[in-house]
Symmetry: D2
């Protein structure tokens, strides 16, 4: 179980969200409150959009609280759309390739959750990655695999449909192997224009997900960055959130048919 | 505040103490119970004596729970006298050079605690390191500094006296700078023959220290490795422990005059 | 293209071969002479057999010439059968999981060479890994893939046959994709009892491979450790070398039918 | 001996100089041509000025050619004044703290060269660092020490004078210890407004230094980035170069009195 944050809105320096709030993402990496695992010290990553075609990406296997590079980068990089993630491994190794966010072309993806009994379905799901993307995958996590399934299922044409199909495909594979453990999927995706977040689980314990809009800033997070609890809106189970460049927010029960 | 373990006795594989006990040192790195900081994820190290003149040393900046190399090394290295340490930084950077144990010639040293307001006395104390040792120091921690003070004060001739003089010297410098913060020093030292542990603090909160002798095995630890609480003996404040190669144990209030 | 060394014989400290010779493996990592790439700075690894069921393994992404841990480990670890490898990446990322040697159960494997146009055949070859081994694979290199193909092809029953079948399988896949680039495979394998080295290429440029027996010591290397050129015996193209625990050496043209 | 590059002018993406030229700094890290050591694989760093008070800093102990983070950062960070450095250690350890550039407040500094027999004068020179800066020093290199000497000698008031005094101080200490080895100092310094480069040596072998002005771009480098040799101007021995924000270039023999 991991912790993550995404932001869309007027450009801000990354440290204003990643480091400065009382319960910032880096503070959460040491003491998460709503996570199954309080310590998220198995690597971290940031991804941000600027003027280039592809987003910037910085991932490291150290704990986020311990990396002087991250402090300097977050202090000096300004972005109007970025992701940050701190990782608690669910079994796969600690390497940069296994750290979130994952990037492909203009897309960023990050995830909190897991495919239950992943080893039983890994091979079968990997076989569904389209040839076009197969050799771009760099790590061994279930999270990156889901990202490549979404790409293979037409993410570039219809994100909504690709996410749904990825969830259905994972669950179908789990059923074939009679897996009782849950599939938990609280994730965030962007193409550099808008962002899409999903809070899904095959059981009734989807990892928490909140957002807040204030002025020209929308923050989407695993858990609130401060104690102003009234200001944070929790997503319901199986709800998805879409925030466009002009900060129009829409919510959807897109995934209810999956379970 | 850190957690550490030392062992002297019949040769054992390191993982039998570092990984296998329910509350092993690596388990403590994620969830320490008697420490001020529950997470000790700012690097770790092992040092062990074999047949060479100098001890082996493996230090890494990753959290101990996350390092496949440590697992393999601890599973394959057998020793009759070794140290293991997990670090929670008290302000100095995370680099291998700042990880314990520190080694010089045949000596190993590791420490839990800190010099209060270290920055105020750092320069003055560094100036007391003997020329012979000055360029061997690799890092910037107060812990390594104390080790080099002990070496400079004749550790090779009279360990007892060198430790006492190092403590007195640190406290005198702190007094000169009118430092109110405490000096805490729960530390372990070995020359490859015997081991010496100290539980000292300038205030009444010395970090915890326990030991247990069973058969031909003596373990000295920051906190017990298992719940058999009756089997672990706590050292008193300002008490030192000496364990010789034949496992003769002696305790001493060697430091009472320092405070 | 990488450089490697393996040793079987009376126990020696690893540094006597890895660091001390004039043209030691670590010296080769900075200035290889018979390799296509003179610098092998993309990670390294050592694997050694002791009294445990599985070999010890230490792999790191730093250049070998730069790692204080490697120096200390090689100085303090003694073994009668060990592998050491310095890596120059042929395209896959630098992570510990991609460093040689690779270990599975009691087996160690390391490789110099590559599958030409690996991306074209990667998927097809990965699909041939037996379910039993599929999730044990940790990295993304062609080298580790070949190791898992050998395991899948019965390495535990008949190493000779499994190696041959792996080579034939790789070449058949390359032919199906009409790949003109060469398959180069100068590799070493051990089960903890004996070691087997192979110098193979689909073209006439197999990476170099030498061995030397002196007293109770057999060394197998990518290039000689010293200038006593008469003492090193080069393997022929497509020749394999087998050295048993009692240091009986046999050579074979086992692979001639493959090409 | 290291390789470095600095840039001042219209904002450019860092990778246009660090990666893209045929003989880019990263290409030089594998195959330097004018350096004593062809491989500069002992860490690297970039420092850049943007809109913050302090420059951004990213330093890592991997070889520069091997770091995916560096590629992404250099592709996405744009700056009108930046430094990049690839390191070949002259004896001190490989840690991020020992990688260039070094930063203090608004200043960046990087260096190619060394203080001959540094261990003999290290203590004496460290004693000259002003109290104000003493605890900001993080590493153990001679390069960082010289930077802190310059700060202590009034860099913020008169850079020219501080550099000269630092050189004189180092040489005086070397003379007192009767050191015959050379002091070599090809270095670059910036306060975020202008940049100052120096090519100095106590003997007649100062490390190479070139610059080129084209349009609104000035590049200062250890060795040319391309084969257009006529376009690169070499600095003379003991010459300094100053480039202001408006790209006015002045050269000076400021150091001739030092030798």
């Amino acid at each position: 179980m991991c912790r993550w944050l995404s932001y869309i809105g007027d450009p801000v320096y990354l440290d204003s969200l990643v480091f400065e709030p009382k319960h910032s993402l880096v503070a959460q990496s040491l003491h998460a409150e709503e996570a199954k695992t309080p310590t998220n010290g198995d690597g971290f990553g940031i991804g941000w959009y600027g003027d280039r075609h592809t987003p910037g990406l910085y991932r490291e296997i150290l704990p986020a609280w311990n990396d002087a590079n991250l402090q300097s980068l977050a202090h000096n990089i300004e972005s109007g759309l970025f992701f940050a993630h701190v990782r608690a491994s669910t079994g796969t190794g600690t390497s940069r390739s296994n750290c979130h966010p994952f990037a492909y072309d203009k897309y960023l993806f990050m995830h909190n959750g897991q495919i239950g009994d992943y080893k039983l379905v890994r091979r079968e799901l990997e076989a569904l990655i389209d040839d076009k993307y197969y050799c771009s995958r760099q790590g061994t996590t279930d999270s990156e695999l889901i990202f490549y399934l979404m790409l293979s299922f037409g993410l570039e044409l219809d994100a909504h449909r690709a996410i749904r199909k990825a969830i259905e495909t994972v669950e179908a594979a789990m059923r074939r192997h009679d897996i009782k453990a849950a599939f938990r999927f609280t994730a965030c995706l962007s193409d550099g224009e808008s962002l899409c977040a999903v809070r899904y689980a095959s059981d009734d314990k989807p990892p928490s997900l909140y957002y807040r809009k204030r002025g020209n800033q929308v923050i989407v997070v695993s858990e609130p960055l401060d104690a102003e609890s009234a200001s944070w809106i929790a997503l319901d189970r199986n709800q998805s959130l879409h925030v466009s460049r002009d900060l129009t927010i829409s919510k959807d029960m897109m995934l209810e048919a999956c379970a």
